[in-house]
């Protein structure tokens, strides 16, 4: 399924999306669509605007032009927390966990928009409150167990800053999963991992789609990973989409090779 089922409605769609940073156009009239159950990779040289695309989708930066539609409804003008509530979760390129909170608290707090108990429930220690707390912890443990035994057991109660780099990246994904999204945006999930770890995470990204049913957009520089996971690859350069399609097609596209070589970055092979 190279471009999804055309009859199906895309879960995420941007049209003419532009983002300006005071004169610098980080994204320039971008059109893209992501279909349910699809894994799309976004690649491109440094500064191409990949992270900016994620920031625009999650409303961390505001779009200067164009539209972003999620499940057919526009996200323009929503606050970041509303976007997350709609069902989009993300990770950050430079891991941004709640470092002093424990592993379990990290995945509990991100369920905030899925839970309802108020101050009154907490103070009166109601049955509904206790049930919800249990469910939160339960769901937290469930997403953590997706990564095997690494984030479970005694690690539940360890502050996130004690984790190794790879585990921090895993915990960030778990935290995104715990928001119960429909679409997950992963910003360079294997950056800084060794080959074994990145191979393993590549497998997990596939399972995220297969077992949890998320649509996934992943920004990645590691071409090995891109080739493994992607149903479709979108190449950005200077905020413009320069190619889209199968990994095999895209990787031989002269424009793409030009973009990478022209920037002197690690070439796609």
């Amino acid at each position: 399924m190279s471009s999804g089922d055309p009859a199906e409605q895309p879960i995420l769609e941007t049209s003419g999306l532009s983002v300006d940073f005071g004169g610098l156009t980080a994204l320039d009239g971008l059109d893209l669509a992501v279909y349910p159950g699809e894994i799309v990779s976004v690649i491109g040289p440094n500064g191409a605007g990949k992270t900016t695309l994620f920031n625009a989708i999650t409303a961390t930066v505001s779009a200067s032009e164009g539209d972003i539609r999620f499940e057919g409804e526009s996200l323009i003008g929503l606050d970041p927390n509303r976007v997350t509530a709609r069902g989009i979760a993300r990770t950050f390129q430079n891991v941004r966990l709640f470092a002093n909170m424990t592993v379990l608290e990290n995945v509990m707090v991100s369920q905030h928009c899925r839970t309802r108990q108020s101050v009154v429930g907490a103070l009166l220690w109601t049955k509904a409150f206790r049930r919800e707390e249990e469910e939160i912890a339960e769901r937290g443990k469930q997403v953590l167990s997706f990564f095997g035994s690494r984030l479970t057991g005694y690690r539940y109660d360890q502050p996130a800053f004690t984790l190794s780099y790879a585990n921090r990246r895993r915990l960030e994904i778990a935290r995104a999963m715990a928001t119960q999204p429909k679409l997950i945006l992963l910003d360079e999930p294997v950056a800084g991992m060794n080959p074994t770890e990145s191979a393993e995470l590549t497998g997990l990204i596939g399972r995220l789609r297969d077992e949890w049913g998320f649509a996934i957009v992943v920004i990645e520089h590691d071409m090995e990973v891109v080739r493994e996971v992607s149903d479709r690859v979108i190449v950005l350069d200077h905020g413009v989409k320069i190619a889209e399609g199968d990994y095999d097609d895209v990787s031989v596209d002269p424009l793409v090779i030009q973009a990478y070589l022209g920037h002197g970055a690690a070439a796609a092979t």
Binding site: T60, D79, F98, H112, V119, A122
Partner: protein
């Protein structure tokens, strides 16, 4: 805790006799090869400080307060603090990888003595100057009284000699502190703190003991004109020294034991502790007289305020410098709703009914102030809250609203709080005020404790850590922060409502910015985010030193209260930034790196974990390496 992290690249000690010792520690330094420059520098700093303290008039004012009858007064204590501190500090060595650490010995004592003598020399100099020049014009405390105090009434020459000698001896004692074994140090500190504590708590213990009919022992321990008797002091010293040896590690052991408990056993232990503390707090005031109860009530009011501010600052991380606004709104609304004399409307509601109105009003004011403020971050927010705190006070003061709040005249004749017809709580009966405060403190503790462990508390934590990410994780940061603001406001208003019933009148002058600052200092000093810490902070600062207008146990300090607050705060930020009794979380935030390093040394982190808990992956890595 001194960690020596093995490092291959760290600077190596220069080759020489010191470096060749097998043990980590080098032999003691020779006693007279001192770093005289350092001694002169630190001594000079100490001398300037000590002269400053003298000219602030602290020694003269505090001389009236005896610690040990006829031997030591608080005034003289204030003159020897710096020689001791400086003498102890001058020989301090940092244990650092690659730098030789010399075993402490005579070197430290000699250095301390020299440094202490320099500080003492400062006082000698001051004595000479006072005797020969008259600088009373700019320096109001440049007085013969001070000169006499410095000279023990025996003339300038005596003053010069005695202060050099005292400085040297005290400095040497400070240096000695570096040399003596830990047990001796422990005994020393226990004795010193016990004596000091017993002297500070004199009025409290006397009052309680008399309430229990134990006048005999009190007369034996305390001199009629204040201070410990010599025999009493010796007895206390011996007693506390024995306790220090016998009780060594017991407290820590008990705490570790409770911490090691799991599940229901742990809950039971905690519950037992809380009930025991509660019982003491309920029973104690029954034996106490008016003054003690007054003091307890004042401390309680500040505990309540500090607990409220702790929700805002400690839990949600919003630096609110205008917290007094809610105290003011609580006081005024209670006053307007209960007093017959309030200018415009006077429904004369019973206190508990009025309290509902107070909570609603303060909550609304919290929302009203919070809504614009909460969108700002960091410094801007702090400044704006500071402004709002003043605006509220100025509104109560203004002519424009004087029809409602009486302007600078305030509202007087506020009736006491009627407790369901059972009792009347008012300023004339401080014991009842204390019980009322205690009840509301219990509520505030429960509220902060429950909220911290709920989804709201976790959201506060996340906002405190990283607001942008918290928002991206689905937390409505504006609502969550506003909620903290309102909860804090309501807790503060309880304190205000009790305050107005206790004092019987409210004036704008009771709600100066200073109150905000003091509450914040209490929270920071006690330990942000820590309920126990905040209570301890109030007890120490408000109970011992006194609140903005309320006298503490050391009433003599009232003039120097702010000076000492400042000094304590600075010292705390340097020595223990997480506060007196910190929350685990705050300690983590401040010592993240050290803790991560400790964990690493204990082998508890999980670098290289692919190798041990994922054999398949490890095999994969080998394959990659080979290919």
């Amino acid at each position: 805790m001194n960690l020596t992290v093995p490092s291959e690249t760290g600077p190596q000690p220069p080759p020489g006799p010191a470096a060749s010792t097998a043990s980590n520690d080098s032999p003691p330094r020779p006693p007279f090869a001192q770093d005289w420059g350092r001694i002169a520098r630190m001594g000079a700093v100490g001398a300037v400080g000590q002269i400053f303290i003298s000219l602030s008039n602290m020694p003269v004012k505090l001389d009236g307060r005896a610690i040990i009858e006829g031997i030591l007064s608080l005034g003289y204590l204030s003159l020897v603090v710096l020689p001791f501190a400086v003498g102890s500090r001058v020989g301090y060595q940092v244990r650092r990888e690659g730098v030789p650490f010399h075993r402490p010995g005579t070197y430290e004592v000699v250095g301390g003595a020299a440094c202490g003598a320099v500080v003492g020399g400062g006082l000698s100099l001051l004595a000479i100057l006072i005797a020969n020049f008259d600088l009373r014009e700019p320096l109001v405390n440049w007085s013969p009284i001070l000169a006499d105090l410095l000279a023990f009434n025996r003339g300038t020459a005596f003053a010069v000699v005695i202060w050099l000698a005292v400085g040297a001896v005290i400095g040497a004692l400070g240096g000695l502190l570096r040399v003596v074994p830990p047990l001796a140090k422990r005994i020393l500190w226990t004795v010193v703190l016990t004596l000091f504590g017993a002297a500070v708590l004199e009025s409290l213990t006397t009052d309680l003991a008399e309430g229990m009919g134990l006048e005999g022992p009190v007369e034996w321990f305390y001199a009629p004109r204040g201070g410990l008797t010599v025999t009493g002091a010796i007895a206390l010293a011996i007693g506390s020294a024995v306790l220090a040896v016998v009780g060594r590690g017991r407290v820590k052991g008990a705490k570790a034991h409770i911490d090691s408990l799991e599940g229901p056993a742990r809950t039971r232990a905690h519950l037992g502790l809380i009930l025991a503390t509660g019982a003491v707090l309920v029973i104690l005031p029954m034996f106490a007289g008016k003054l003690t109860n007054e003091l307890l009530a004042n401390v309680g009011l500040f505990v309540l305020l500090a607990l409220g501010l702790n929700v805002v600052v400690g839990l949600a991380g919003i630096l609110d410098l205008g917290y007094v606004a809610f105290f003011a709104v609580g006081s005024y609304s209670a006053a307007v709703l209960t007093a017959a004399a309030s200018p415009r409307i006077n429904p004369e509601l019973p206190w508990f009914v009025a309290l509902i109105g107070v909570v609603i009003l303060t909550g609304l004011v919290g929302l009203f102030i919070g809504a614009p403020v909460i969108r700002m971050r960091g410094d801007y927010l702090a400044i704006v809250t500071l402004g709002f705190g003043e605006i509220i006070r100025l509104l109560f003061l203004s002519d424009w609203l004087s029809g409602w709040f009486g302007g600078s005249q305030g509202i007087t004749n506020i009736p006491g709080a009627e407790i369901f017809g059972l009792a009347e709580v008012s300023g004339t009966d401080p014991r009842s005020v204390f019980y009322l405060v205690l009840a509301f403190c219990a509520i505030a503790i429960y509220v902060s404790w429950r909220l911290e462990r709920s989804r709201i508390g976790r959201a506060w934590m996340a906002v405190r850590e990283d607001e942008t990410v918290a928002e991206a994780m689905g937390i409505n940061t504006v609502n969550v922060k506003l909620l903290a603001f309102v909860v804090g406001a309501v807790l503060g208003s309880f304190s205000g409502a009790i305050f107005s019933a206790k004092v019987g009148s409210v004036f704008p002058a009771s709600f100066l910015i200073l109150v905000s600052i003091v509450i914040l200092v209490v929270v920071i000093f006690g330990g942000m985010g820590s309920i126990v810490g905040v209570i301890a902070g109030s007890a120490v600062l408000i109970g011992v030193l006194g609140g903005p207008k309320q006298p503490g146990l050391l009433a003599e300090f009232s003039e120097f209260k702010l000076l000492i607050y400042g000094a304590l705060l600075v010292w705390m930020m340097l020595a223990r930034p997480e506060g007196l009794i910190p929350s685990v979380r705050r300690t983590r935030e401040l010592h993240q790196e050290e803790m991560a390093q400790d964990a690493w040394l204990r082998g508890q982190t999980d670098e290289d974990e692919t190798a041990d808990d994922n054999n398949g992956a490890a095999a994969g890595r080998t394959a990659v390496g080979e290919s």
